[in-house]
Symmetry: C2
Subunit: 100 residues, 2 copies
């Protein structure tokens, strides 16, 4: 029989984020567009943005909290530099129970 003090098991959530440059210039994205995509004969691409992809699998009680935990840790641990970068949250997916 469960008691009232039973600890709710935390679930795992995978939060997908990207760190991209803040300003209007993105030399890497521009180069991929010009020297790879357009030079490769593809004419339906208007813009390419490049950046760093990271996913964090975190223990959390819900997806919204997982996103908050990840955005906070990225800011607090200087995973990105807020002066020149911005963090984009690309999505969160349920990753099963962590059993703890």
């Amino acid at each position: 029989m469960e008691t009232e003090n039973t600890v709710k098991p935390m679930d795992l959530y995978k939060v997908h984020v990207a760190v991209v440059l803040k300003g209007s210039r993105d030399p890497e994205g521009e180069t991929i567009l010009r020297d790879v995509v357009l030079a490769g004969g593809i004419n339906y691409v208007a813009k390419v943005v490049s950046g760093k992809y990271l996913s964090f699998t975190v223990k959390s009680s819900n997806g919204e909290e997982a996103v908050k935990l990840v955005t906070n840790l990225c800011r607090d641990l200087r995973i990105f530099n807020p002066t020149v970068h911005k963090l984009i949250v690309l999505g969160v997916e349920y990753g099963g129970s962590s059993g703890c």
Copy 2:
């Protein structure tokens, strides 16, 4: 009056993708987890995966086609190396009419 030959204007879609390592090892992700996250005193992160983020803004008639265009161009232009990398489609968003 519109004729039957009126060309449907194409819309712009932004497709978000990530290029990550295929195997079980991801030295960069492991280092971020060990030397940044855990060393920073954060104990709710189970895993970190690192990779390259790219977004492609493409002219397309719908989102599904936009994703197909981007995955094909990434494969054909060797944006990633299928021997060691895999491409993850993280999402697609509507980006307005291109007017052409």
